[in-house]
């Protein structure tokens, strides 16, 4: 008896890893999804985009890299599709140089799919060093930071950019965050220039961003896989994030079950002593 309790209070970590692996893999392979209601912060983000007038400029900032790709990339594609479907214009840039190619790949892919034209419907600006400096200067004149796009074409030669000078000309900023750049966007673009912002983030970063949402500094917050799944439901295109949520439910249940087991062992052993 004692041996049994000792065993469940000290399960080898490799066994836990194995259970987690199985718990994640099976739901991902079966691709079965549960129905659920989207969170209000995601709904607000969706509604804000839905209500933007056609032709508005939306700035997307890629502030993540390959590590967070599984969490943020599916959402980026879904959002790009939504933006293009509503005939909004997309300006893409980023603060994580090694993640920018991911943004570019998604942008080119979805633009091709939706039959959008470079320079007219979307542009890709690329990366400039200095997070705060870039944000502050963009509030004055985008050309102070990006005088050319990533291919070296002057901004004024791109038809959709001719009338875009600063945040006043950008109806919405969507930041894809895997670190602290989101805080900078709020501090500089929102607090100083009143830019409307939606932040989407990895689950680890999301709790940091809730205060901004509560304080009304950002108009929407799409956090982690759950946020992405909610968004997929709202745009009626259930995909990777939606099915991924099943894996998340399973893994949460497994972790709680493990915690419970550990506590049973802990209490039993304590009593035996």
């Amino acid at each position: 008896m004692r041996e049994f309790f000792e065993r469940i209070s000290k399960i080898d970590r490799r066994i836990i890893y194995l259970i987690v692996l199985v718990g994640v893999t099976i739901p991902l392979l079966t691709r079965k999804g549960f129905e659920f209601k989207p969170l209000p912060e995601v709904k607000n983000a969706y509604n804000f985009i839905e209500n933007l007038p056609e032709g508005s400029n939306v700035l997307i900032s890629i502030d993540y890299d390959a590590a967070s790709m599984p969490e943020l990339q599916p959402l980026l594609e879904v959002m790009l599709r939504h933006l293009f479907r509503n005939n909004l214009k997309v300006i893409m840039m980023g603060h994580w140089p090694l993640g920018l190619p991911l943004g570019q790949i998604a942008l080119e892919k979805i633009a091709k799919e939706m039959d959008k034209k470079y320079g007219y419907d979307y542009v890709f600006l690329g990366y400039r060093p200095g997070i705060a400096a870039v944000m502050l200067n963009m509030g004055k004149e985008i050309r102070m930071v990006f005088d050319v796009d990533y291919k070296g074409v002057p901004l004024d030669s791109l038809p959709m950019m001719r009338e875009v000078h600063n945040y006043d000309d950008i109806a919405l900023l969507i930041g894809f965050e895997a670190g602290s750049v989101g805080d900078f966007w709020v501090q500089f673009a929102q607090a100083r220039f009143g830019q409307k912002i939606i932040l989407t983030s990895t689950a680890v970063v999301t709790p940091d961003l809730y205060p901004y949402y509560q304080a009304g500094q950002i108009v929407g917050l799409i956090g982690g896989l759950r946020g992405a799944a909610d968004y997929e439901i709202l745009v009626k295109r259930k995909g990777f994030a939606y099915t991924g949520m099943t894996a998340q439910t399973v893994i949460h249940v497994i972790i709680i079950a493990l915690i419970l087991l550990g506590n049973i062992g802990y209490f039993a052993l304590r009593r035996m002593r």
Binding site: G55, E141, D168, G179, S180, A191, T202, V204, P207, D208
Partner: protein, 373 residues
């Protein structure tokens, strides 16, 4: 014919106003107008600018073309001291109509950012309190600091690691030298390196940021020097690893598994790699002391390491470890600022609550005072 003409007669935009943008470095004028009643029919507005010269107003130059529905622009291309006025033209196809000219505006730079007055006052109070307590400490007043177990555990951790014949590992996280947690981490590193030198134990410091790497190298050297054992310092033990988050995590994990350090210090600013490092450290059975101001990572550290310095405890490290009265004085000052802030928060909550229920806008003054742009 006359009838058709009447239909297409556009109404002009009204009430065009120009004013210097406040709290800026000059060169900017904000122009606002009332939308033309026919706004929904328009194609766009053209904003013209005129400059006053000795011969009167210059010919209008086109400043900007904006979409219908917009009623505000900022002219960012002004010369300070020059008199400007603006005209807004509503355009629909071939038709157009001009507003009457705006008032005269002159852009200028300001010497004080009025909206940041509250920040300035707070800054003066905070610095004043800190300086006051520093002054008091200089006069030799005794100051008390509460026990911080995480810092007390440093010596024990170094000692235990030495007994086991294992090296120590210290990581400063992903912060740059511009991040204050990194500097706090460096002051802890100094203590650890001094102890390591005393106990003749190896200290491995893999770094993420090249500048931090140089600073860490100097700090460790200094620690060994203070302990009187500069001969024990090994050049290759403090090194740069990678400037990539997960590359760094993989590298440090590899070192942990290969070198099996007896004690691991995770002190600095961490992101998602925190748990990857802490769990690996735990799996090799090392005693771990962590510390960060990254609030999101604190739960991971608390769960996976033996001791955690929570937030400001880290900043208190150098004061706690050196017991230098000047350091302690700033912590005392901090406590007083905290009391002050709590008082202001409580007052603010009370005022806002009353203002909400009794609908007295005057009571929002505190909130307005602290709204900084």
């Amino acid at each position: 014919m006359l009838f058709l003409y009447f239909i297409f007669l556009l109404s002009p935009p009204g009430n065009v106003k120009a004013r210097d943008v406040p709290n800026d470095a000059g060169g900017k004028i904000e122009v606002t107008w009332k939308l033309s009643p026919d706004d929904s029919l328009l194609d766009f507005y053209i904003i013209f600018r005129q400059t006053q010269t000795e011969a009167g107003w210059s010919t209008p130059e086109t400043l900007m073309i904006v979409k219908r529905g917009l009623s505000k622009i900022t002219d960012t291309d002004c010369k300070d001291g020059v008199k400007y006025r603006y005209i807004v033209r509503a355009v629909k196809g071939e038709e157009w109509v001009d507003s009457s000219p705006s008032n005269i505006a002159i852009s200028s730079a300001q010497w004080f950012h009025k909206k940041r007055a509250s920040a300035l006052i707070l800054l003066i109070i905070i610095v004043g309190l800190l300086l006051f307590f520093i002054q008091k400490a200089r006069k030799g007043e005794e100051l008390f600091i509460r026990k911080i177990t995480g810092l007390d555990a440093i010596d024990e951790a170094v000692g235990r690691s030495t007994e086991m014949g294992k090296p120590l590992l210290f990581t400063l996280g992903l912060g740059t030298i511009a991040d204050i947690p990194t500097i706090a981490g460096l002051s802890i590193l100094k203590r650890v390196s001094k102890k390591a030198a005393e106990y003749e134990t190896d200290l491995i410091v893999p770094c993420f940021d090249p500048v931090v790497y140089v600073a860490a190298q100097e700090t460790v050297k200094e620690g060994y020097m203070e302990a009187g054992r500069p001969d024990l310092y090994k050049e290759g033990n403090v090194f740069f690893l990678s400037y990539d988050q997960f590359g760094y995590a993989a590298g440090v994990d590899g070192i942990m598994v290969r070198e099996k350090p007896g004690a691991i210090f995770l002190q600095g600013y961490f992101y998602a790699e925190s748990l990857i490092l802490a769990e690996t450290g735990n799996s090799i059975g090392a005693i771990q002391i962590s510390g960060t101001t990254a609030v999101t990572q604190l739960p991971f550290f608390i769960a996976a390491t033996d001791y955690t310095l929570i937030g400001e405890e880290m900043y208190a490290a150098s004061a706690y470890l050196t017991k230098d009265p000047l350091f302690l004085a700033t912590i005392k000052g901090e406590d007083w600022v905290k009391i002050l802030l709590i008082a202001v928060i409580v007052l603010g909550i009370a005022l806002e609550t009353i203002a909400y229920f009794l609908k007295i806008p005057l009571l929002h003054f505190l909130k307005q005072f602290f709204t900084i742009i």
